[in-house]
Symmetry: C2
Subunit: 338 residues, 2 copies
């Protein structure tokens, strides 16, 4: 087995890459949620001065990257590569932002798991010795996602209680070889699992098996126990998916009662903000990492976090063709070693 | 600068990963082209026994992966990770194939540049010490791509002479730490460039500046000269894009007259097969690599090849919103060191 491989699907970084800085740009509703005060920029209007929601999303993406780079005291020329993705067809938010940023770009698609994928590949390229500074970034936008995946907003379609609310937001992180910040110490690359859920309004249930599979694999491969973590946080399972994933993890003998939650649950007040099962989207775990987890780690109130962004790999076409929804999850241990 | 970084955008692999095996599964029309006899499997019917073109594409993808793994004398359990992507919204061919293959999966989107992206990230994860055997794979399908990006085939829309023909095909490669085969020695990660082309039926022109930029960068960073290569081959510029890219490269003082061509030109007989400017699609460079370049390198008739898959980063939504088409290109030097 290769020297940095642990168990079946996991990686141990020899010189754990640092997260030098993060950023979080969010929409109005996210700014009104429980984490609102933590975000770097809250938009007044989700169109962000653009003529379409897609253009607004690309602008948020660019802004998040600029802010993360500035926060690391770097300039775009100082960034070797950018890993990123989003939910739009052909990841156009990413491509259009990359066109203006001019940073060599590697496009990813892992649905809402993309922030973990992006961070883990950033860590691989840095620990491997191929780069010094890399940006990892994702975005999502409620309005562009709804019309692409479900219905145009103008239709006023009713949402069932299992539905989630796509987060309007973009979060970026500068991952680096040198400097100060929490480190990415271990990563697990997920498998695609599908338990036959066909309801695009119940993505939490579709993703829960993959989330549990990757988290269990991460714990087994690294030998960590849940009590070693201050937080084990999935990307966007929402209330329903979180409960399902927790049941699977608990049934395998791991007690995660104290530290298991979900970015989609933390970002909104589920009672008062009318988001049904919780937040979702590529941007969800990115802004919760940037706006909340990273800041808590820098303050020292969290020492070790397991971030497990979760993706539902459906497309409108696959759903129309009767396909069920495969899920995926990639996980990272982030640790304050300062 | 990091120890394996060359110049601004390039990487030098310390222990160049090997391409242990490749595979190529193509449609009927591709089987009738000049490279037809080289492909591992030519379909009789592009539906491949499935009820939709999208399902047929996912089946080709899976078949290509199985064949590459078998060709390397491995089993799916012996593959650490799979890097892959395709052109469909939310890369569903990849996700649905990954669901059945059960190999830990990292999804990519670089439009038709994805095969280079996939191969270079496979080389990074192996040379970095994180894996022993990885699969890189992409696919495209004429019928699923036409209806997604342009018009349903049933409409019988007329195609202008600048249009290209999406290759129906899937190609995979097993990249490994140990064994025998040509090596990936250097890679260049591309920037997104956009010279303002808005015509989705002229993608060659949209991609040509990015192709030239990456190839020039690869030559400058590595210090290689065009005469060091038996072949410098882009992904799917077609006739128009190839001529434009060649002009830019030549104007910078590099003579590529003898070895510069394009996978989209090689795969079809442009005169007799009614494909206008040439082939295109994610699968194009993948099957030309698997079915032709790799076999020539194994025979010894080619020693060093520069593979530069090229991607047009448009979506139907971005085109409808009046956006121009950004291009990207990633490049690899593949060398026979046996």
């Amino acid at each position: 087995m290769s020297e940095k491989k642990l168990g079946v699907q996991s990686i141990k970084f020899q010189n754990p890459p640092l997260i030098l800085s993060t950023s979080s740009v969010v929409g109005k509703k996210e700014g009104e949620g429980p984490l609102g005060k933590n975000f770097d920029l809250v938009l007044d209007d989700d169109l962000y001065g653009e003529s379409t929601f897609e253009k607004a999303e690309a602008k948020m993406y660019k802004e998040a990257v600029y802010r993360a780079i500035k926060g690391a005291n770097l300039k775009p020329e100082g960034i070797d590569y950018m890993f990123g993705g989003d939910l739009l067809d052909q990841i156009i938010s990413s491509s259009f932002a990359a066109r203006e940023l001019k940073i060599p770009f590697l496009g990813l698609y892992g649905a809402c798991s993309t922030m973990s994928e992006s961070l883990l590949l950033s860590a691989v390229i840095i620990d491997g010795g191929y780069a010094d500074n890399v940006v990892a970034v994702t975005s999502s936008h409620f309005c562009s996602a709804e019309r692409q995946f479900r219905f145009p907003l103008e239709l006023g379609a009713q949402r069932p209680p299992t539905a989630q609310w796509t987060v309007t937001g973009s979060g970026a992180a500068v991952v680096a070889k040198h400097g100060k910040g929490p480190c990415i110490t271990h990563a697990t690359i997920g498998r695609v699992l599908d338990f036959g859920i066909t309801d695009a309004n119940n993505m939490g249930a579709a993703m829960a098996p993959a989330a549990a599979d990757t988290i269990l694999r991460h714990l087994k491969d690294t030998g960590h126990m849940p009590c070693d973590y201050d937080l084990i946080i999935t990307g966007d399972l929402g209330k329903i998916g979180r409960d399902l994933a927790k049941d699977i993890i608990t049934s395998e003998g791991y007690d995660v009662e104290k530290q298991f939650t979900d970015c989609g649950i933390e970002i909104f007040d589920l009672e008062s903000q009318d988001v049904h099962a919780g937040g979702s989207g590529c941007g969800c775990s990115a802004v919760v990492l940037g706006g909340y987890i990273y800041k808590e780690m820098m303050k020292g109130s969290m020492k070790r976090v397991l971030l497990a962004s979760t993706g539902a790999l459906l497309s409108p076409t696959s759903s129309m063709q009767g396909e069920s929804i495969p899920g995926i999850c990639h996980a990272l241990t982030i640790e304050r070693m300062m």
